[in-house]
């Protein structure tokens, strides 16, 4: 193991970053797993542990309740439930980790969708005694829907099934088959016991038959492919930098984060939606002139021609532009109590562009277990997933979400009070179409 025994580890200068999310209920041992990872990787410090012990005692609990580490709000502690996504940070010598810890029950769809939207990996927990249950399939479906590239199935409480290989293998097979059917690109199943620390950080002494990595080893070594290698370049313009100073009288740079692919000096590009063409004449990578840059770097791009380019425009190489459309079909997750109704006028925020839009039709409501489309609902309510059609006032340069999480995603915003209503993913979101009937 790479973690020290005396110190909590620091990621070295060459360490990479992994953003991951956990899904599962308290009963599955999620908090115990998270607490165990933080504790055994020496990321949990003495004052944090003391605070948890103190709070646990004051609630009459004997053992420290590691859920209290992430239940940061007064209402959460008072009600003993996790309301909101909590972000946790830890590092080993090989990697830095950002963990989005999503609550298991209350508002779980909305929270898991939120946590999974930026995750490169999701850990789905199951109780070895119960195997794959309805909630497990929902979690797998959310991971698939959000196009999280890696899913880890953590089969917990192996101690309660006698560390039996056959129990693990059956659960792993069932889950893997289901996840692949949904289009999850990579599934890794790991037998473990969070309570005893088996296969969390240190290998288990009770499961000789398992030759794979521990959970933390897997997190440290999994090859992150969140940036599709051959995706066409997309550069949404955030801000135009024009110093107009004596030193830089004519500098006009387009600032943004490369959403996908690679930009190069000399590349022929087109600006959307105007359709004007130019050539990249320079790329500034935060003060350094470079020949090329790639997603997800923040850069400033200079063009050879003096064009009218502003925030909300997209710069992309000629040859593989995204679809420019005013009609959008998407899978959405509705996030707020106020229902989403057909005819509703909204703002649609896509990359750096916000346009007016109207919900033309709510085609279906999608249940995750069984995975099924129920046509013709009159509305979507909070935590519903559905298929909708939108019409925008101006064209939007959209990629299918399955191709690009950054340029295929959007938010619907209430024009009256500015609240975020709905999260959307353009195009077909499951690689295989949702099966028509129950029992998937």
């Amino acid at each position: 193991m790479t973690t020290g025994t005396e110190h909590h580890a620091t990621a070295g200068h060459h360490a990479t970053l992994l953003r991951f999310a956990t899904a599962g209920s308290v009963d599955d041992g999620k908090s115990t797993l998270v607490g165990r990872m933080l504790h055994d990787s020496k990321s949990l410090l003495a004052d944090q542990l003391e605070a948890v012990e103190r709070a646990s005692r004051s609630r009459g609990q004997e053992a420290p309740d590691l859920a209290l580490l992430t239940d940061g709000l007064r209402a959460e502690r008072e009600q003993g439930i996790t309301i909101d996504v909590a972000y946790r940070y830890f590092a080993t010598a090989r990697r830095s980790f950002i963990l989005a810890d999503t609550p298991g029950h209350v508002q779980y769809t909305r929270n898991m969708v939120t946590g999974a939207s930026t995750a490169e990996l999701v850990i789905v927990l199951v109780d070895a005694r119960h195997g794959v249950v309805e909630q497990t399939r929902r979690h797998a479906a959310v991971a698939a829907l959000l196009r999280v590239p890696h899913v880890v199935l953590a089969v917990n409480k192996m101690d309660l099934v006698g560390h039996a290989e056959s129990v693990f293998a059956d659960i792993a097979d069932e889950f893997t088959a289901y996840a692949q059917e949904l289009g999850v690109p990579a599934v890794t199943a790991i037998p473990m016991s969070a309570l005893n620390g088996d296969n969390v950080v240190a290998p288990s002494a009770h499961m000789d038959w398992y030759g794979g990595p521990t959970v933390l080893e897997h997190l440290e070594t999994v090859h992150v492919t969140a940036e599709p290698a051959h995706a066409p370049a997309r550069f949404p313009v955030q801000y135009v930098i024009r110093p107009q100073t004596a030193e830089h009288p004519d500098y006009r740079g387009y600032a943004g984060l490369i959403a996908s692919g690679t930009l190069r000096v000399g590349q022929d590009v087109v600006v959307l939606p105007s359709g004007h063409r130019s050539v990249i004449s320079g790329i500034d990578l935060l003060g350094e002139r470079v020949e090329s840059a790639r997603a997800p770097q923040s850069v400033t791009v200079l063009l050879a021609d003096d064009l009218d380019v502003s925030r909300g425009d997209l710069i992309t190489p000629v040859g593989s532009p995204p679809t420019l459309t005013r009609d959008i079909e998407a899978t959405v997750c509705h996030l707020v109590d106020q229902p989403l109704l057909p005819g509703r006028k909204v703002l649609l925020k896509h990359t750096t562009r916000t346009v007016q839009a109207v919900v033309r039709e709510i085609e279906s409501r999608v249940t995750l277990d069984p995975l099924h489309r129920h046509p013709g609902p009159d509305r979507l309510v909070a935590n519903d997933i559905g298929r909708i059609r939108l019409r925008t006032a101006e064209p939007v340069a959209l990629d299918p979400y399955v191709v690009s999480r950054r340029t295929g995603s959007f938010l619907l915003i209430d024009p009256a009070d500015g609240s975020t209503l709905t999260a959307g993913m353009a195009g077909e979101s499951f690689v295989t179409r949702a099966p028509a009937g129950p029992g998937a």
Binding site: E6, A9, T10, A11, H13, H14, A15, T16, L17, L45, A46, D47, T70, G72, L73, R74, A75, R77, I83, D84, Y87, R88, Y89, A91, I98, R110, V113, T114, S117, T118, V224, T225, P228, A229, H230, A231, Q238, Y239, I241, R242, T245, H248, A255, G256, L257, D284, L286, R294, P296, Q297, S298, R311, L335, T352, R405, S409, L411, D417, G418, T420
Partner: protein, 303 residues
């Protein structure tokens, strides 16, 4: 075959890129942003990232310093040199002026950290700032672990955890009603170690009190506090000279120093890695008051 995009992005580069993206989103969507600048390491890194985000143009936002009146002189000096060096605009919201005008009362414990909220919210209203950048990090404290990057505040500056907007992908929503504003935290995903690794990598100067130095201190509530006009030490609190450094820099009355020999960023990194306490646990009296001390301050409009 290894293609270019298979090369993983290093974690500091990813964090830097994300923070710059956040600054540019605010510049693109909001009218009157301001950067909170205390002269502490987090606000220094934040300012450095903001300068990078808009170079070679000048920074398009002013700075706001909420001055408790209990400042470390090294930090004030650093602030003024930084403002001069980059030609920045600085607003100061003064706790002392509010006390002098009778709008705030000194607390019995002499701590002025909680008193910053009123001058802060007043400055936001006076200048009609609609986006306020803060250096808060989610790893600092458990209420902050639930904070959004774009955090909506009502006209009193208050934070309602139940009114927080879900934040997905890199799509930030800064829309707000007149009188409301958003607090924006570009360092949300940074840890104390990330901040120091970034300082080490880029060679950014930080105030000298972040490194080991000799200082007259006295022990209160298990922390080494600096003797000074703000009211310490009291009777029975002997002063001694120790080699210390500050892990956080805030109001002198509630920010403790730690015993340290770390004289440069690399030594600081090694020291933090070996520490068994979090930075707030080690150095902040204001967070020790109750389990929900930070949440309660945030609800009232604190950073």
């Amino acid at each position: 075959m290894t293609t270019e995009t298979d090369i993983p992005v290093r974690h500091l580069d990813a964090l830097e890129s994300e923070a710059v993206h956040i600054f540019r989103e605010v510049a693109g969507e909001l009218e009157r942003p301001v950067i909170l600048f205390s002269g502490g390491k987090d606000s220094i890194v934040m300012l450095h990232l903001a300068l990078k985000a808009f170079a070679p143009a000048p920074l398009p936002f002013p700075l706001l310093h909420v001055d408790t009146g209990h400042n470390f002189p090294e930090v004030l000096d650093y602030r003024d040199r930084t403002v001069a060096r980059y030609g920045l605009r600085l607003h100061v919201a003064s706790v002392q002026e509010h006390i002098d005008r009778g709008q705030l009362k000194e607390r019995p414990d002499g701590t002025r950290n909680p008193l910053q909220t009123v001058p802060l919210v007043e400055a936001i209203q006076t200048h009609r700032f609609d986006a306020v950048f803060g250096g808060g990090r989610r790893d600092e404290e458990k209420a902050r672990a639930k904070e959004r990057v774009f955090s909506l505040r009502d006209e009193f500056g208050g934070w309602d955890p139940r009114r927080q907007r879900p934040e997905l992908w890199q799509l930030y929503n800064g829309r707000h009603a007149p009188g409301e504003h958003v607090r924006v935290f570009p360092l949300s995903n940074w840890t104390e170690l990330d901040v120091w690794q970034y300082i080490a990598r880029t060679g950014i100067e930080v105030p000298s009190i972040y490194y080991a130095h000799e200082r007259d201190v006295f022990l209160r509530d298990g922390m080494w506090l600096t003797a000074g006009d703000w009211g310490g030490p009291k009777d029975g609190e002997p002063v001694e000279r120790r080699t210390v450094r500050y892990r956080t820099v805030g109001d002198m009355s509630c920010t403790g120093a730690v015993d340290s020999r770390a004289a440069d960023p690399y030594a600081v990194i090694a020291e933090i890695a070996a520490s068994r306490l979090t930075e707030r646990g080690a150095t902040r009296a204001d967070d020790r008051m109750s389990e929900a001390a930070m949440e309660d301050r945030k609800r009232e409009g604190y950073f």
